[in-house]
């Protein structure tokens, strides 16, 4: 919260003739507030194209970051948003006059229409983290805070305030997820800033997050390769939605034991008849007993909006 400046007078109240203002929020972008190094997980403005423009390459690098600690996690479009500060906290005296103590908490609530239990589970996992948030508004501005020169940082959420719930559908309303969180009391609305839509060439508004991909049990395992069904967690229990369209560049293979090391995949081919069924082929025949791990590539950004949960294969 801003401190009073007793010796410099009040702030100026003039305004330029035209200046951007925030529009209604359409999406939130969650991030872990701190990186592994302890720095705030913000946007270093000098790393934008020309130091000014948020382009598609930058956005892809953040959304499809192979490091989940620095990745951006945009929500689907949010509806029925409320983002309001509670009334100021004041001390009232017997003569009914009052003095300002501190601002009320800012609470954000929004709905994700057609939100489902899978998304709910992923959202709930944020509760125990130190979370920051950027907002994307209807005009395509990216809103954060500026408390460090040269950075647009995420806005810190109040610890443990994040809540996600499932609201089931009715005859006349759709199923939805509701997310609620408080902005940290350490944050000041006066620090809110944005990268204006005119400086965003990426497809920011409407950007989607990654979709988890889970592997079934590998079959037809030989020293030369194996088959495996890759599905998303969405869909019915007997009709999961397959992860389609992946290629060899979407995977990395490493031997875990007995001797750790990289393995080259010569091909990964999706079945023409069964969606999500992939045949993996090693470039060199492996040895019986080798334990091999298949994962995302280790180099960012991912090529597709699919986040493979790594799985192991034991060569028979």
């Amino acid at each position: 919260m801003a401190l009073c400046k007793c010796n410099t007078g009040g702030g100026n109240t003039g305004r330029p003739s035209c200046y951007g203002v925030f529009d209604v929020t359409k999406q939130a972008v969650f991030v872990e507030y701190y990186t592994e190094t302890g720095d705030i997980n913000g946007i270093e403005l000098s790393t934008l194209a020309g130091g000014t423009t948020l382009d598609q390459a930058y956005l892809d690098a953040r959304i499809k970051d192979v490091n989940p600690r620095t990745r951006w996690y945009p929500t689907p479009e949010l509806k029925n948003i409320t983002d309001e500060r509670a009334d100021d906290i004041t001390e009232e005296f017997e003569d009914t006059s009052s003095v300002f103590i501190q601002e009320g908490a800012r609470t954000f609530t929004g709905w994700i229409i057609k939100g489902d239990p899978v998304l709910l589970g992923n959202l709930k996992s944020w509760r125990c983290l130190t979370v920051g948030v950027f907002f994307i508004d209807k005009s395509g501005n990216l809103i954060g805070k500026q408390t460090r020169e040269g950075y647009l940082d995420p806005i810190l959420l109040q610890d443990d305030s994040f809540s996600a719930t499932l609201i089931k559908g009715t005859d006349t309303t759709k199923q939805k997820n509701q997310i609620t969180f408080d902005i940290s009391q350490l944050e000041d609305d006066a620090d809110l800033r944005m990268i204006e839509a005119a400086q965003v060439t990426a497809n920011l508004l409407g950007v989607g997050g990654l979709v988890d991909v889970n592997a079934g049990t590998p079959t037809n395992v030989t020293v030369n390769g194996f088959d495996v069904q890759l599905n998303t967690p969405f869909g019915g229990v007997t009709s999961p939605i397959p992860a389609e369209g992946m290629t060899v560049a979407d995977f990395e293979a490493n031997e875990i034991s007995p001797s750790a090391g990289a393995i080259v995949l010569s091909s990964v081919v999706e079945s023409a008849t069964v969606a999500g069924l992939y045949s993996f082929t090693f470039s060199v025949a492996q040895t019986s007993g080798d334990l091999i791990q298949i994962s995302n590539p280790s180099v960012s950004p991912l090529l597709k909006s699919l986040d493979l949960n790594k799985f192991n294969v034991t060569i028979p």
């Binding site: 003739s17 035209c18 200046y19 951007g20 203002v21 529009d23 209604v24 509806k79 209807k138 005009s139 395509g140 204006e196 839509a197 005119a198 508004l205 409407g206």
Partner: protein, 230 residues
């Protein structure tokens, strides 16, 4: 100067350029059967450019397949559909504009925004709503009125043009100039005619399609692109 409503609608129509995804192709009686999950508003006897070669649609099953004739087989891939033509104005002016086009194949499908348009405005400084407007927008394609029964109009024009209307409304919903919740009506029109009596065609060609009646709150543009304060 704020954008006129006719220009806002024109910009939305210009965004109607989806991709036709050709999944597979087979030869059927000298023609080419294209498998695709979405046929958009393509209809019988329409011409489509697939990779530089013009094909004529001989038959189609909506959102399943298209049978085309052409000199060479098309290739599997994605092809951007051309933006529909756009006309706005009073009925008399639109009639003149349509009448002036001799080859109607170059006109259809087209979007016609009916005028006069009444924009209701207010002086509420806090309001984000610049104007409230009631629009009548026609999404039209050619129809064989002499040979088709009502079901044929639906299969060949109404269903495909409804997909154009749906895409248009999807563009409206994400457009920053439109408020989120909109009321609209869709009216299937078979062989559109004066007063719907089927006696006198509105234009000098046979057309069917969808009339979209849209009551929209158009928001202020918060950007500083327009430096003129008038």
């Amino acid at each position: 100067m704020r954008k006129q409503t006719v220009d806002i609608i024109e910009n939305l129509v210009k965004e109607l350029k989806p991709f036709l995804v050709v999944d597979s192709i087979s030869v059927v009686s000298g023609n080419y059967l294209i498998q695709t999950n979405c046929t958009w508003w393509l209809s019988i006897k329409d011409s489509i450019d697939l990779g530089g070669t013009i094909y004529t649609i001989e038959d189609f099953t909506i959102n399943e397949s298209i049978l085309v004739s052409g000199a060479i087989p098309p290739n599997v891939g994605s092809y951007e559909l051309p933006v529909p033509n756009y006309i706005h104005g009073t009925l008399k002016m639109a009639q003149n504009e349509v009448d002036a086009i001799n080859n109607k194949e170059l006109l259809v499908p087209f979007v016609y925004l009916f005028e006069v348009i009444r924009d209701r405005k207010n002086t509420d400084e806090e309001s984000m709503i610049d104007r409230t407007t009631e629009l009548r927008i026609f999404f039209l394609n050619s129809a064989n009125t002499s040979d088709w029964l009502t079901d044929d109009h639906y299969e060949n024009v109404i269903y495909p043009m409804q997909q154009m209307v749906d895409l248009f409304m999807a563009k409206v919903k994400i457009n920053k100039l439109f408020a989120e919740n909109l009321d609209y009506e869709c009216l299937p029109l078979i062989n559109i005619s004066e007063e719907g009596q089927q006696e006198n065609s509105i234009f000098d060609c046979n057309l069917s399609g969808i009339e979209l009646r849209l009551t929209a709150d158009i928001r202020f543009d918060l950007s500083c692109e327009n430096k003129c304060k008038c």
